[in-house]
């Protein structure tokens, strides 16, 4: 069973069509790049998978289930914006994630925090913006989830943080889990992608294994992306 399946998925905000008949099938064990310019519908698609939005048409299934309590158990979601309660510290956050997610691996989280020398007793409010974002990523990646949805994880972070993020994704890889990374910064992520999905104006324009695309076009995914989305 595919971990994520969309059939004729539509989402409108008033008269604006954010997603317009999207068909996608993502199998387990893949790292998938959801690539498109800003406002192309990437975030809308991820929010629909999370149940933060309700489709206007078509359907979306996570591991065969419509978004709900059961699907949320297997999704680990990194939102576009940092949204952890700032009065908490990393220690309390680990308690929080451990309470609600049976698949949260506290020792993995502690290991990652220690490697970045982030003090677990310091409130998030007093951490640097970069470290706050890393704490959030650690909470997301420390779960043994079935589907990781990472919305713009590398937008606006420095190169060291970007490497940390990509390394975390690679080292947490497991063959029963899939990772979807939405981004418009393709050059940075293309080495870690199995598959790429190009999305523009709410429609899927291309879906292919990354290496197959490179082989057929004789270009990097980044170059293909620039051609497809040339302004």
């Amino acid at each position: 069973m595919p971990i994520l399946e969309c059939k004729g998925l539509c989402k409108s905000y008033g008269s604006v069509r954010a997603l317009d008949g999207v068909d996608i099938t993502i199998e387990s064990g893949r790292i998938v790049g959801l690539l498109g310019p800003n406002g192309s519908g990437k975030t809308t698609l991820i929010k629909l998978a999370n149940g933060l939005l309700v489709p206007s048409g078509g359907r979306i299934l996570v591991n065969g289930l419509a978004p709900g309590v059961e699907s949320k158990k297997i999704i680990s979601y990194l939102p576009e914006r940092s949204c952890l309660p700032e009065w908490m510290n990393a220690e309390q956050l680990m308690g929080f994630y451990g309470d609600f997610y049976a698949d949260f691996d506290r020792s993995a989280a502690e290991g990652m925090l220690a490697r970045l020398s982030i003090d677990v007793k310091t409130r998030l409010k007093h951490l640097s913006k970069g470290n706050r974002e890393k704490v959030q990523l650690i909470m997301v990646m420390a779960r043994k989830a079935g589907l990781y949805l990472l919305d713009e994880p590398i937008g606006g972070v420095d190169p060291a943080a970007r490497d940390f993020i990509l390394n975390t994704i690679i080292s947490n890889y497991n063959p029963t889990a899939s990772v979807i990374i939405s981004t418009h910064l393709i050059a940075d992520v293309e080495r870690v992608l199995d598959d790429v999905i190009f999305i523009n104006q709410g429609k899927i324009v291309l879906a292919s294994p990354a290496d197959q695309l490179r082989e057929q076009q004789g270009k990097s995914v980044d170059e293909v992306f620039r051609e497809v989305f040339r302004c």
Partner: protein
């Protein structure tokens, strides 16, 4: 999962509410000291100014703590479920119902604690050997009334407290519903929430004017004009009022609960 949500909710709210309650009680203790100082002593101008300030602070605090608690609970609901933190909360594997109940129950608890704080603050302010005796007597009288009194006094008090709890729950839900509807809009979410709340009030008034014609209330208002007072009759009417009010609160609460659940589930619009 409701238990875990409540646990987390208590932790998150106590970190703002405990200092408020603590400050109120501290002001009461300071007020008590001030009262003793001022009692029959001639104080230097500076000291009496401080005494005056503390007393003003105490009375402002007594009146404000209820409002502050309501404000804190409304803000908590908005910030935790309808703003950035909503990304975390609404992707937890818990139902919308558990989310709402955890908020409502914890709010009701803080409203009750705020009420207890007000009573405790007044007691602390006036605390001396005599008040201890007065309070002791009061409790003894209450105990006697409860155990031996006629006319179901104990039941009446419990009923009245239950109506108060219901009222606080219904009030929380009406704020939550207004916020949930208001935040479904793309812009001016707070202004929309206020407008929706005013809409609810108008709706409530219309519903109430119908209800008032139907229920014992008419009898009650008629009774107020009656030339003499019969205690037993009054108690009957009073309990009727409480029952009617409880019914209305349950209806209001159920309506607001339904609206909140619907909008959180189907019309969530996080920025």
């Amino acid at each position: 999962m409701l238990g875990k949500l409540i646990k987390h909710e208590l932790r998150a709210t106590s970190h703002t509410m405990l200092p408020i309650i603590g400050a109120m009680l501290l002001t009461a203790v300071m007020g008590n000291v001030c009262v003793r100082l001022a009692n029959g002593h001639d104080l230097p101008a500076a000291v009496s100014l401080i005494v005056l300030l503390i007393m003003v602070l105490f009375f402002v605090g007594i009146f404000a703590i209820g409002l502050v608690t309501v404000y804190m609970m409304v803000r908590r609901f908005r910030d935790n479920l309808l703003r950035d933190e909503g990304y975390i909360m609404h992707t937890l594997p818990v139902s919308v119902h558990a989310q709402i109940w955890s908020k409502v129950l914890v709010s009701a608890l803080w409203y009750a604690l705020a009420a207890v704080t007000i009573v405790a603050a007044v007691v602390l302010l006036t605390f001396d050997a005599e008040t201890v005796k007065v309070i002791g007597d009061l409790f003894k009288t209450l105990y006697d009334v409860f155990t031996q009194g006629e006319g179901h006094i104990a039941e009446i008090v419990v009923e009245f407290l239950a109506v108060l709890v219901l009222a606080s729950v219904a009030m929380s839900l009406s704020f939550d519903a207004a916020l949930s509807v208001g935040h479904a809009f793309a812009k001016h979410k707070m202004a929309a929430s206020v407008a929706v709340y005013i809409g609810f009030l108008i709706l409530g008034q219309i519903a109430l004017s119908f209800a008032a014609r139907l229920t014992v209330m008419t009898n009650f208002y008629g009774y107020l004009d009656a030339p003499y007072v019969d205690v037993y009759e009054f108690i009957t009417y009073w309990r009727g009022i409480c029952g009617a009010e409880a019914g209305l609160l349950v209806l209001e609460g159920a309506f607001c609960y339904g609206v909140t659940a619907l909008f959180l589930k189907r019309r969530l619009n996080l920025e």
